[in-house]
């Protein structure tokens, strides 16, 4: 059975640019898919195709069991979209914005009003409810935007870089909201440039680049693909580096790298926590004082780098958004 969000062979070209070149996705009901990729990879275009904002040149898309191309209005009734730019009217108050969106979801005025009240409460915006959103901080606006996407508690949600540009506190706040949503059974497709975010929130991750899916799997699977674990040691005294290096050579499955100025040694290993304990014991026996030691696994940043050949934060910021217009 196809998932709550299902795409097959999505293709979209803008003039010469093949923004999507056959994207396949499947998000099982009640799970979170993290769509990762550098700017211009096709993340936003994918979201726009799945949310009826853009007609793909070819391919198939089914959202909440409804064919996006055949019955877009029914899809619109079942989805919530929270975009990259907080799409709220800056001259309307928070409450007016939510009421308007509710009414446009075809709720009666009274029901829309009650729902707005509920959401303002839930998103901690009650105090600011009657101020034009122009006066809101970036984080408040983003929360209101997300609230607007949740007016009808849609079974399927799309969030396009929901925390880009937010401070850590507001990011944490949004993460909490997203986790609550998903635990309530909502299916979510989330695009992000923050690998940490995908690691934190997503069950499955799809990496796109140049309009192609280049990798997919759980965060653990992707990390395993990139390479195994490493032991990282920071010794207290610089003169201990040599001895420590000898110890690590005994346990390692490859070359030990040393960062002299950090007094840090890294060696690839297999054997996990048990091995780590042995390393600690051995270092202790030799009388080497350590500041820090740990078993490190590759971060998604490492994954990203090895898959795409470049780091996650890409440069030419607006190409995709421009193309999407």
């Amino acid at each position: 059975m196809p998932g709550a969000i299902h795409a097959e062979g999505l293709v979209k070209t803008f003039g010469e640019v093949r923004a999507l070149d056959g994207v396949d996705l499947d998000v099982p009901e009640g799970t979170v898919l993290g769509l990762l990729g550098p700017n211009g990879a096709g993340k936003t275009t994918t979201v726009r195709c799945l949310t009826t904002l853009l007609r793909p040149d070819s391919g198939k898309a089914v959202v909440a069991g409804i064919d996006v191309l055949k019955n877009p209005d029914a899809v619109r009734r079942s989805i919530g979209l929270s975009g990259q730019f907080a799409a709220v009217d800056e001259y309307l108050t928070g409450r007016e914005n939510l009421q308007m969106v509710g009414q446009l979801y075809q709720m009666r005025a009274k029901a829309a009003k009650a729902r707005a009240e509920e959401l303002l409460e839930q998103f901690d915006l009650t105090d600011a409810a009657d101020r034009p959103t122009k006066t809101y901080s970036g984080g408040m606006r983003r929360r209101l935007d997300l609230a607007a996407a949740l007016v009808v508690s849609p079974p399927v949600m799309f969030m396009d870089e929901p925390t880009t540009g937010l401070d850590p506190r507001n990011r944490q706040l949004l993460w909490d909201v997203i986790k609550r949503l998903v635990s309530g059974g909502t299916t979510l497709l989330l695009t992000t440039q923050y690998l940490e975010e995908a690691d934190h929130l997503a069950h499955d991750i799809v990496v796109v680049d140049h309009g192609h899916v280049i990798a997919q799997g759980t965060s653990d699977q992707l990390k395993a693909r990139t390479g195994g674990e490493r032991v990282e040691v920071v010794v207290h005294e610089r003169e201990h580096i040599r001895t420590a290096s000898e110890v690590l050579r005994g346990f390692g499955k490859g070359e030990t790298t040393v960062e002299e100025h950090m007094r840090k040694l890294t060696v690839p290993v297999t054997g996990g926590a048990k091995l780590l304990a042995e390393v600690i014991r051995e270092l202790d026996t030799r009388g080497i004082e350590i500041d820090d030691i740990g078993l490190r696994r590759p971060t998604l940043d490492d994954v990203f780098l090895s898959l795409t050949g470049h780091v996650a934060e890409a440069r030419d910021n607006d190409t995709e958004k421009e193309a999407a217009k």
């Binding site: 209005d73 029914a74 619109r76 975009g83 730019f85 446009l104 979801y105 075809q106 508690s153 079974p155």
Partner: protein, 281 residues
């Protein structure tokens, strides 16, 4: 998954026309709230036509020949229908800039992702602009009365003239909507929305007696949709300077004005809604 859609607490789908009307009113309300929070826009929107009234009346007033009279008071009465009509056409720029701004800020994407009537975003905007146009016309009429403009017909005819003006303004907001959807920035919509209005409003009977133009220009002026409304207003106000040209729109200005305005709405509404929908599913 299909069961989940039933859980969405929305009312049963209404008749498309009912839904379209309801959604348009929701969007119109939104735009009216916006306008009320941007009073400087309304004030600047008023200053400009008031300036035109005063400048044209006093600068051109003494040197214009209207129906054989060069009296400045005759010109003032002649002028007002033209200024009113020109003022309502400027609603084009407001509508265009507003819609371009919504596109720019991502609001149009939000609307497009909602299960609302497709034309409602634009219809709501044009309705709200008409309310603003009506307000502007009201203030402008008061100023016109102050500088000596008078009507010489029944109240019903005067109202009918203002009705035609509002309809012309409404028609022009649809042109603005199309411009707003076609440009990349609100700034482009503002200037793009204004430029073409100058030839439209000046190659007409609005400020001068078109019978004194060179023949080909007079021809253009007589068939200009804008002239038809001006001529209709002059007739309905009982103001001087009604054109005696043989051109059909000058002979039957009320009908011509109605037909032109309805045609403009029909054509530009279709194009704008198509543009709004284009690219999306």
């Amino acid at each position: 998954m299909t069961a989940a859609t039933d859980a969405v607490p929305v009312t049963a789908p209404a008749h498309p026309l009912v839904q379209s009307l309801r959604d348009s009113l929701v969007v119109a309300k939104r735009n009216l709230i916006r306008m009320s929070r941007l009073p400087d826009m309304i004030i600047f929107g008023l200053i400009q036509p008031i300036m035109f009234v005063v400048l044209f009346s006093y600068v051109f007033g003494g040197s214009m020949n209207i129906g054989g009279s060069t009296s400045s008071s005759v010109y003032r009465e002649f002028l007002m229908a033209g200024i009113f009509a020109q003022t309502v056409t400027f609603s084009t720029a407001g509508a265009g800039a507003g819609i371009a701004d919504d596109m720019h800020k991502g609001l149009i994407d939000r609307f497009r992702s909602l299960p609302m009537a497709r034309g409602a975003v634009l219809t709501g905007r044009t309705l709200a602009d008409s309310v603003q146009t009506a307000l502007t016309l009201f203030v402008l009429a008061l100023v016109a009365l102050l500088v000596g403009w008078r009507t010489h017909t029944s109240f019903g005819e005067v109202l009918a003239a203002f009705g035609l003006l509002l309809l012309l303004g409404y028609a022009f907001t649809w042109v603005g909507a199309l411009i707003g959807l076609s440009v990349r920035t609100p700034e482009a919509a503002t200037s793009g929305g204004l430029i073409w209005l100058f030839p439209v409003t000046f190659i007409s009977n609005a400020f001068v007696d078109s019978s004194r133009m060179t023949p080909w220009l007079q021809h253009v002026a007589d068939w200009n949709p804008f002239s038809a409304t001006v001529q209709a207003c002059r007739e309905l106000f009982g103001n001087p300077g009604v054109s005696t040209s043989d051109a059909w729109p000058m002979q039957h200005p009320v009908w011509a004005s109605l037909i032109y305005s309805v045609l403009i709405v029909a054509i530009f509404r279709t194009l704008a809604v198509r543009k709004y929908r284009s690219a999306s599913v």
